[in-house]
């Protein structure tokens, strides 16, 4: 422990800010993927699977075409396709959403494993110099600004886009007619129906957009965050995203704050590993933090709720 205290400035320094954001970005995309369906009162347990399929599609399309743009687009379409399977099952055929979501996750793990063997003839993972990664943005005008230079330069395009997407979704949810309808469908479908909103159409739209974002999450993971595909590489990030979405109550900005918290614990853990903390504890940290934060936030929400209700009951 003493070595940790001596090296505290090496653990908590400026580069931790980018490290936090970097490990949070895939979870932010996943959380936004879950948030949009949650607004329509569908809990998207399949986020993990959508992401994984997106990650595989992005790598293979980028490898065969040599274009990261095509890879990202294909990943988004693949994500949308998977999401539509879920949507049809849930909305048309009355599937229990958790059950079909877990089915989708299993399908994603199995089918990417199968295709990895069938297309690339390898097990475990695939990487190649011919995979075209998502480029990083180098802002030339920042070259002479001391601290900002290290902080903001060389982010990958999708990392910048994550911030844009948070703002866009925040605007769409709370400032547009479509967002109002979406939330109406989620909170009181009967009332929405009476108001002339096509409830199922809105749900399908939410699932479709969720699939596109989930596919993008996967593409970022396999082309931006790293440049390879590994079996089950999402590693429960989709579920962390769902947990963050609960934490933020499906509000994009608050949800992203939750993701940053997980990213922070991930990056601090990675640095602590150098000072003799067993790797298993380091690896377990983001999961432990996620469960704890999720629980505390739900408990706080519940007690706030009961307080409000009891205030109503006074008179």
């Amino acid at each position: 422990m003493s070595t940790i205290m001596e090296n505290i400035d090496k653990i908590f320094n400026m580069s931790l800010i980018y490290a936090t954001f970097r490990s949070a970005t895939p979870i932010i995309f996943a959380a936004l993927c879950a948030a949009i369906t949650q607004q329509a009162n569908i809990i998207n347990i399949g986020t993990e699977g959508i992401m994984l399929v997106g990650a595989f599609t992005a790598v293979s399309v980028s490898y065969f075409t040599g274009s990261w743009i095509l890879g990202v687009i294909a990943a988004m379409l693949a994500g949308a396709m998977i999401a539509m399977i879920m949507a049809v099952g849930h909305i048309r055929y009355n599937s229990e959403i958790c059950a079909i979501g877990m089915g989708i996750n299993m399908l994603a793990i199995a089918i990417t494993k199968f295709l990895l063997k069938a297309v690339f003839d390898t097990n475990g993972g695939f990487s190649s110099p011919e995979i075209d990664p998502i480029p990083r943005v180098h802002l030339v005008f920042l070259n002479n600004v001391p601290i900002i230079k290290d902080l903001l330069n060389d982010w990958s395009i999708t990392e910048w886009f994550a911030i844009v997407l948070i703002v866009i979704l925040q605007f769409f949810f709370y400032k547009t007619v479509w967002g109002l309808r979406l939330r109406a469908v989620g909170q009181f479908p009967e009332a929405a129906k009476t108001a002339g909103i096509k409830v199922n159409a809105v749900k399908y739209q939410a699932m479709l957009i969720s699939g596109l974002i989930g596919g993008l999450a996967g593409a970022h993971l396999s082309l931006g965050y790293s440049t390879q595909f590994i079996e089950n590489m999402t590693n429960n990030r989709g579920f962390m995203g769902v947990a963050a979405m609960y934490f933020g109550g499906a509000n994009p900005v608050l949800t992203a704050v939750g993701c940053l918290l997980f990213g922070f614990s991930d990056s601090v853990g990675a640095r602590l590993q150098a000072y003799g903390i067993p790797s298993q504890f380091v690896l377990m940290m983001p999961y432990l933090v996620t469960v704890t934060v999720l629980s505390i936030s739900m408990i706080a929400k519940l007690s706030a709720n009961t307080k409000r209700q009891s205030a109503l009951n006074v008179n």
């Binding site: 089918i111 769902v242 298993q280």
Partner: protein, 344 residues
């Protein structure tokens, strides 16, 4: 047609559709689906070693699928069985190695009880969080699985390590008899069958079982008639955890004889799949667990003889689940009837 017959018919149709989709995949990579399925079947049953391997694979699946189904009876979606298997396994290994002061019969008992207690305690956390604070048990159990795996991984490569290159513990002092050597099929299968029968009896013939089923169908009604839905919910999750713990204990005492790092990967999730396909019907679940065990065991043989990757089996299973969850699919006549009724 009676309700259970309808359920059975739907399972059969779903199974055929899933195998059909699997055949399309096999044809897409230029292999003969019929050859592949025959190789799959042979891989699971042909010869003592293969049959034994199938049975050894069936044992934990039987318990984990029942574990998921029991929780589902009370309305819980317990994805955490896998973590409970791991923790049950490490507890059984710890007791089996260190508590040598106990006479052998008591040591067996201590291993099983220890595994059950720790696993049930682990299941209590997400159960209580859900029952009292509404925290989604799907999220917490999945994330806690990873935590459980890392805890056991730390113990087996650190304090409990036998010092081998591949992290594992010292051998335990009590083992379950393996009756089909060289396969690892062991007496644990009888224990598993007994336990599952006991759980089925408990669910359908006892007071407690009635409470669980009431809470699962309608928690508000349960609370109204004086059954504490929270208590029953937590109880069923803990029972689910115990079954997972027993599975872990059998794997350690029966199959390996020591705790092996990552020994139970996929046991929990495969059990969950078996239960999901039959909508956690306690009677059908064991049969589905057997079917999945056959698929899993045969997959290796299929990969070796035909060149179809064994991941195909997982793909088929996943398709199977996705179609099986669609409640209103394949209800041909009833939907037509409904339409007629609506028109009338």
């Amino acid at each position: 047609m009676s309700q259970s017959m309808k359920g059975l018919r739907k399972i059969v149709i779903t199974m055929l559709v899933a195998l059909g989709i699997g055949a399309l995949f096999i044809m897409a990579i230029g292999e003969n689906p019929l050859d592949a399925y025959i190789a799959l079947f042979k891989g699971a049953f042909n010869g003592k070693l293969r049959l034994g391997t199938t049975l050894a694979g069936f044992t934990p699946l039987l318990l984990t699928s029942a574990a998921f189904a029991v929780a589902a009876q009370a309305g819980a979606f317990n994805v955490g069985v896998e973590g409970e298997v791991f923790l049950g396994g490490i507890t059984a290994a710890y007791i089996g190695i260190n508590w040598t002061f106990l006479p052998k019969p008591l040591l067996y008992l201590a291993c099983f009880l220890g595994a059950m207690v720790i696993a049930a305690a682990w299941a209590f956390i997400p159960a209580a969080l859900k029952a009292f604070y509404g925290v989604s048990e799907v999220c917490t159990t999945i994330l806690m699985n990873t935590v459980a795996v890392y805890i056991t991984s730390y113990l087996v490569s650190g304090p409990m390590s036998a010092g081998t290159a591949n992290p594992q513990t010292l051998p335990v002092n009590v083992t379950l008899f393996q009756f089909m050597k060289p396969s690892s099929a062991n007496l644990g299968i009888l224990i598993a069958i007994g336990v599952v029968l006991l759980v089925i009896f408990m669910l359908h013939k006892t007071n407690w079982g009635y409470k669980i089923r009431t809470v699962g169908t309608n928690p508000a009604h349960a609370d109204y008639v004086g059954i504490s839905s929270r208590k029953v919910f937590i109880g069923s999750m803990m029972l689910s955890g115990m079954l997972g713990g027993i599975a872990g204990c059998i794997e350690v005492l029966g199959v390996h004889g020591y705790f092996l790092n990552n020994f139970a990967t996929g046991l929990g999730s495969n059990g969950m799949l078996a239960a999901l396909i039959v909508k956690s019907n306690m009677i059908f679940t064991p049969f589905m667990a057997f079917f999945l065990a056959v698929l899993k065991a045969g997959a290796m043989g299929m990969q070796q003889t035909t060149g179809v990757p064994k991941a195909l089996v997982d793909t088929i299973t996943a398709v199977f689940i996705i179609i099986a969850t669609m409640e209103t699919a394949f209800q041909f006549n009833s939907r037509r009837k409904k339409k007629k009724e609506e028109q009338a």
